[in-house]
């Protein structure tokens, strides 16, 4: 055995060399012989009946392949959780940019003209565009009442609490849509062969989601669908569900034409037609004692799901469970609701509902602090969850987390107290006002409730004929470090050098279904399975007498080679099994919501310029407890990247809607942070110990999305609260919003 540990070391990213040399092959870098290019004709209206589709007779259609809903061999749906979303609109449309018709041609240059040469005549129907319109309901556009999903979490006796309260604090908070804005647009290539069926290569997160969707759509047996992930240029949730749609479109064109078909969106199409973060509205009503303790409360969390159900139920679930933040609620009633509107369906984006409800919780904590007359620090300290207490779903905190200690360290790292005092002095003069804000939060890792049990993920690890080891999972790499971390885990388990372990390209013909690459589950859940499967290889070799209990890497390689020469294959599988004694009630939404939580305290320092009304983050401290840090460089990169997206969510990224369609679908008018916009993002870890994940790791990917927006808005409030009538309760918060709020108060 090598003595050196690989866990905790920043080994080189597995596919890193290819990425820095330009050799990495993304979907748009691939071509196939006789390949056609596909394009999508989309709805121009938010809701209506399709009366007629006509093709401009002046245009030469002879070499085009055309696909409509009538060409679908199987069921016209995108099979996901439900199947209400059609692959191609059939007779009616429910949102702008809804796909209606597909075109393919060998010359991509002709496609745009072809798309423009298709005319669609509609009979428009009234549409709804906001949560409020959908709730009213002014029109029924989905189901019987526009409600896609509801959840109710109920703990203790909330109704009896109001009479005891010294303060009742209310607030309403909203968050806007946010575009994932991976720099590589969505794209796939599909090929069809009568014998082999369909093969899809694509930029995607979840090969088996696409597989499931294609089985239903193409009416082919599972073994005739093969999905392969190409190198993927960013995803952030935006390539969780949407690739099933674009893969379905390419597959239909490939079946009809008998030729490979590539569809790669341009930026405008990607931004206007694909998913975004769900807009949200959260209402809090909280009973608080005179010493600042939360006695109980009601939280109404509502998200705008867009036109079809897609992933809204699970986004809602996570948002609802996280709505109470990292605090102890003796009693609480949380109502979660997802409603339909005539916008393209909103979908997965890092955080998955939690950034929305936690924004509300953390803004509300500052409001409670103000009402009670305590500092933002003290109000949090008095309400933090402690080991032994239970969350809103009555999950007991079993780990030795000390949020007070985490808070102290964050305050120290950010020089919070001194800054606050200094800013209070200097804000008396000049037009630059500075402030500091805190957010305390948690993020559950892995699927919610019984999700992991239903998924029953499987991984394999195999010894190879060359003596190396290969990890086989459907978990995908899209920047976060899947390849690297899973190889580290296998190497550590086997006591081998990192270089001896490699990972298979995710290909449903080659790898078992280790579940989707979402929900911050890969390192923690899949990593644990990889460890078990790797140990299985070792046990096999030990049992066959080829190695002893301790061995050198060279002895291991020799044993691998010899075993394979003798037996043909050396492969070990591991399947997820729920830990003992874990209880979750799907009906009552009660019990162990997550296998573990990551915890964090973020502190933002901002400067607001009252001559331009722009707010700028000047320093950012991100301190978190994520269990064992498997790879410090990757872990820091995950946090800094998430914080940057969170800063965008708070201050820059505004989706401008008109009749359900995004109006600013370009990088020139939808503004994400550049290198010149961001403060130093200072990342720190505290390891308080967790037994659940692989080598003690918890999920990390989504956590950093949750904290920046409330910390920043709290800091802005701290900076200019005295010139405002009311607080800032919405993100994104752009200069024009600050201008309006300051002007409305009539002060400068």
């Amino acid at each position: 055995m090598t003595q050196e540990h690989i866990i905790g070391k920043s080994v080189p990213r597995k596919e890193g060399r290819d990425k820095v040399t330009g050799a990495a092959r993304y979907i748009d870098d691939m071509t196939m012989p006789a390949m056609l290019y596909g394009a999508t004709v989309r709805s121009q209206i938010p809701r209506g009946v399709i009366k007629e589709i006509s093709f401009d007779p002046q245009f030469d259609w002879s070499e085009f392949v055309t696909v409509t809903a009538q060409d679908i061999p199987g069921k016209n749906c995108i099979a996901l959780i439900g199947d209400d979303q059609p692959c191609l609109a059939d007779g009616k449309v429910n949102h702008p940019e809804e796909p209606i018709l597909l075109l393919a041609h060998a010359d991509p240059h002709l496609l745009r003209k072809a798309v423009d040469s298709v005319s669609i005549e509609y009979e428009s129907l009234p549409a709804v565009f906001t949560i409020e319109d959908s709730e009213r309901p002014s029109q029924i556009i989905w189901g019987t009442d526009n409600t896609l999903k509801t959840f109710l979490i109920s703990k203790g006796d909330v109704d009896g609490i109001w009479a005891e309260a010294d303060y009742i604090v209310e607030g309403e908070y909203t968050t806007g849509a946010q575009e994932q804005l991976y720099i590589e647009n969505n794209g796939v290539i599909a090929a069809f062969d009568r014998e082999q069926g369909i093969t899809v290569w694509g930029s995607l997160q979840c090969p088996y989601y696409v597989h499931k969707a294609l089985v239903a759509l193409c009416d082919l047996p599972a073994e005739k669908i093969r999905v392969v992930q190409a190198e993927t240029g960013g995803a952030f949730g935006g390539k969780e569900d949407y690739p099933s749609i674009i893969a379905g479109h390419a597959a239909l064109l490939a079946i009809k034409s008998g030729r490979p078909v590539k569809i790669v969106y341009d930026r405008l199409e990607d931004m206007t037609a694909t998913t975004k973060r769900h807009p949200s509205r959260t209402r809090h009503r909280t009973a608080v004692s005179k010493d600042g303790k939360i006695l109980g409360g009601e939280i109404d969390f509502t998200i705008d799901g867009g036109a079809y159900a897609t992933l809204s139920s699970v986004v809602l679930s996570r948002g609802t469970i996280h709505a109470g933040g990292p605090y102890y609620w003796p009693s609480v009633r949380i109502r979660g609701k997802a409603v339909a509107t005539n916008a393209p369906p909103h979908g997965a984006f890092r955080g998955f509902g939690a950034p929305q409800s936690l924004f509300a919780m953390e803004r509300h904590m500052d409001r409670i602090a103000q009402a009670v007359g305590l500092s933002p620090v003290e109000i949090r300290r008095r309400n933090f969850l402690k080991p032994g207490e239970t969350t809103t779903t009555e999950q007991a905190i079993r780990e030795e987390i000390d949020l007070g200690k985490l808070l102290n360290r964050a305050l120290e790292l950010s020089d919070y107290a001194a800054k606050r005092a200094r800013f209070a002095q200097r804000n008396k003069v000049g037009h630059i006002k500075k402030g500091v804000g805190i957010a305390a939060f948690l993020h559950g890792a892995g699927f919610t409730g019984s999700g992991e049990r239903y998924l029953a993920s499987v991984v394999a690890v195999e010894g190879c004929a060359d003596g190396g080891v290969r990890v086989l999972v459907s978990s995908t790499e899209f920047g976060q470090g899947t390849n690297t971390v899973l190889c580290q885990i296998a190497a550590e388990a086997l006591g081998l050098p990192y270089e001896d372990v490699r990972i298979a390209q995710p290909d449903t013909n080659q790898v078992p279904n280790s579940g989707p690459t979402v929900a911050s589950r890969t390192a923690m859940v899949v990593g644990n399975l990889v460890r078990s499967a790797a140990l299985g290889i070792k046990q096999t070799l030990v049992a066959s007498g080829m190695i002893g209990g301790s061995y050198s890497p060279e002895q291991f390689r020799t044993a691998c080679r010899e075993y394979i020469a003798a037996h043909g294959e050396l492969r070990s599988f591991a399947r997820y099994e729920a830990p003992e004694g874990v209880f979750w009630d799907d009906q009552k939404y009660r019990g162990e919501a997550y296998a573990s939580f990551a915890w964090a305290i973020y502190v933002a320092e901002v400067a607001v310029d009252l001559s331009t009304y722009s707010a700028r983050v000047e320093d950012f401290v991100a301190l978190q407890e994520v269990g064992r840090v498997l790879h410090p460089v990757l872990a820091k990169g995950q946090i800094a990247g998430g914080v940057a997206q969170g800063i965008g969510f708070a201050l820059y990224e505004k989706v401008v809607w008109q009749n359900g369609r995004m109006q600013n679908g370009q990088m020139t008018n939808y503004i994400m942070p550049t290198s010149a916009d961001l403060p130093p993002i200072r990342v720190f870890f505290e390891e308080m110990g967790n037994v659940h994940g692989a080598y003690g790791a918890k999920g990390i990917g989504e956590l950093p999305m949750d904290g920046p927006a409330p910390a920043i808005v709290n800091a802005i409030q701290d900076a200019i609260g005295d010139v405002l009538g009311t607080g800032f309760d919405s993100v994104p918060l752009l200069p024009e919003d600050i201008f309006e709020a300051v002007s409305a108060n009539g002060e400068r």
């Binding site: 820095v20 990757l634 020139t668």
Partner: protein
């Protein structure tokens, strides 16, 4: 749709009428290709020359994924009509490694975590290399400013800054 890429056409027509010869040097190799005059340099690189390391992110000069060096100047190849590159010396990501060895910038990106998903990386590395060709010892503000035309959604830029600082140190032997 209100937006059109006509005029800086993304794609080639199927016949060659209207094409003309373009001679230039790419990564030190003289090349002649037949192109439409207004074809985007990005497409010439990717489609005609098979140099797919140069990426397209937005197609309108905002994201910098298609950055290449043209006669030592940093350009967005999606905005450059092919003929503008006549007789130029072009450097793409494929041309910056020193043989099979990564150059200092590539190695620093790999080591410091400057590349996550990798799609912005080629442009980012060229942009950073361009900076170091002008300033051997850039300040953090210089780096922030120089890379502001290259968008990265993964890293939050911090580890990219570290990589540039490290590459600068290694180059100057500090």
């Amino acid at each position: 749709m209100s937006y059109s890429s006509e005029g800086r056409s993304k794609d080639r027509g199927k016949d060659d009428r209207g094409k003309c010869a373009l001679s230039l040097a790419i990564n030190g190799n003289p090349q002649t290709v037949r192109v439409f005059p207004m074809e985007r340099l990005l497409d010439v690189l990717r489609n005609e020359l098979g140099l797919t390391g140069t990426k397209e992110g937005c197609g309108e000069g905002e994201c910098g994924s298609c950055s290449v060096l043209m006669d030592g100047k940093l350009v967005n190849s999606c905005l450059v009509p092919a003929l503008q590159a006549a007789s130029a010396n072009l450097t793409t990501i494929e041309g910056i490694a020193e043989g099979s060895q990564l150059n200092a910038m590539q190695a620093a990106f790999l080591e410091c975590g400057g590349a996550q998903c990798g799609i912005c990386t080629p442009g980012m590395i060229l942009s950073a290399s361009h900076l170091l060709s002008k300033k051997t010892d850039p300040t953090l503000d210089d780096i922030r400013e120089a890379l502001a035309g290259n968008l990265c959604r993964c890293t939050g830029y911090m580890q990219i800054f570290e990589a540039v600082v490290q590459a600068a140190r290694r180059r100057t032997g500090v």
